[in-house]
Subunit: 211 residues, 2 copies
DNA sequence: TAGATTGTTAATCGATTAACAATC
DNA sequence: TAGATTGTTAATCGATTAACAATC
């Protein structure tokens, strides 16, 4: 169970394994071979076995993998049972959608606060959480042991907000802005969501199509 | 200017080049060397030169690259001046946020329709577009030559909707659902946004932190 | 036991980095 | 011209795929 030195590429595939295993479990499929799983994932049997073996021998020779057991193992590896204390900053379109839409408790997180700088929406309710004044950020982080922030603010506001969060002890960020956090805080743990980058990539692929 | 066989990894970096070049341009910086650009991008000079040379010699030996010219070239490669006719399906939290928030015209797209199956919100206005009845999807696609669909619907609704879109001639998808489009339509051009996968990956990284 | 399928090592492939001659 | 920096080839590194012995 040597969890060290697992490559980023493997980690990025784990949620997909988890999803497809969940679907298989719903279909009451109890065992699966690396070959069949690879087919479903559009991967290769080799890669499946290679990936899963990073974490230990979950399979049985001559039999395959137990779907519920494997799903459970991957959930553990990802830490989906965790309850990382999270806040969301920026209750605009994206922020509100994220706060209202994601099932954080199934993903290892516990959203405990939503912040904005627009006093007109202070107190508004999103999924049972009131929008709080950004000014109280530091106090809130201290009192609630906040581990991670979801940044749904404009690019321009990001450097200041991240500095304040970092000083308040927050080290992890789900970053919807284009601010390059690791440039200023190299030890921060960051997952970037650059929606416009993805659209540009799609645009490129579409242009290739016509050629 | 051999645009064939450009690897996906290079393409995925182009939007970042574009963003940083835009910032440099704003700062009135007119020329830049591969080394300096690499520093900004947290990349290497080698990679920068290798990447940019996929598309042709944009640089000048002994001088570097012209910031505005390079930015322009990358915009052209990505096709940001295009106006791909797009529709959005699903005016829930995420769909509304996307429709209201993204600057599609700067990203090569033109959003011309928003659809939902909830009659209570038909006619509601999002950024100047009225929410339309999903039933009229096929007619609309035919009349407007829709090239690409942004899928902000629940996973369960995706297979049917994509089938209808595909039959109506739509081949490109920005997919916020977990439905695996290419499984059923191998020639579709798809850009997936799996927000929950990203959160799981972040969760994993956070767990590693403590070890 | 025979058949199936894993765990794991070796081979291949692709992407990144280094080096350097070309040239502005 | 000398210095700087590209374009491009070669070397390295990492990730994917193939092969096969171990074993259920």
């Amino acid at each position: 169970m040597n969890k060290d030195n697992i490559s980023k590429s493997v980690i990025r595939r784990l949620p997909r394994y988890y999803r497809f295993l969940s679907e298989l479990e719903e279909q009451r499929i109890d065992r699966i071979s690396s070959g069949r799983l690879a087919e479903i994932m559009r991967s290769t049997a080799s890669q499946v076995r290679q990936d899963l073996n990073c974490f230990g021998g979950f399979g049985h020779q001559g039999y395959g993998y137990s779907v519920p057991k494997l799903k459970e193992e991957i959930a553990n590896i990802l830490g989906l049972d965790k309850n990382h204390t999270a806040i969301l900053i920026g209750a605009g379109h994206i922020g509100t959608a994220i706060a209202a839409h994601m099932e954080f408790n199934k993903l290892g997180f516990n959203l405990v606060g939503i912040f904005d700088n627009n006093r007109d929406i202070f107190g508004n309710d999103i999924n049972g959480l009131k929008i709080l004044d950004e000014k109280t950020l530091e106090d809130f982080c201290g009192e609630n042991n906040v581990e991670v922030a979801f940044l749904c603010i404009p690019r321009g506001a990001a450097p200041e907000i991240v500095k304040r969060l970092y000083d308040a002890g927050v080290r992890c960020y789900w970053n919807f802005t284009h601010y390059y956090i690791q440039g200023d805080f190299p030890d921060a743990i960051v997952e970037n969501v650059h929606l416009s980058d993805m659209l540009m990539t799609l645009c490129y692929s579409m242009n290739e199509l016509g050629d």
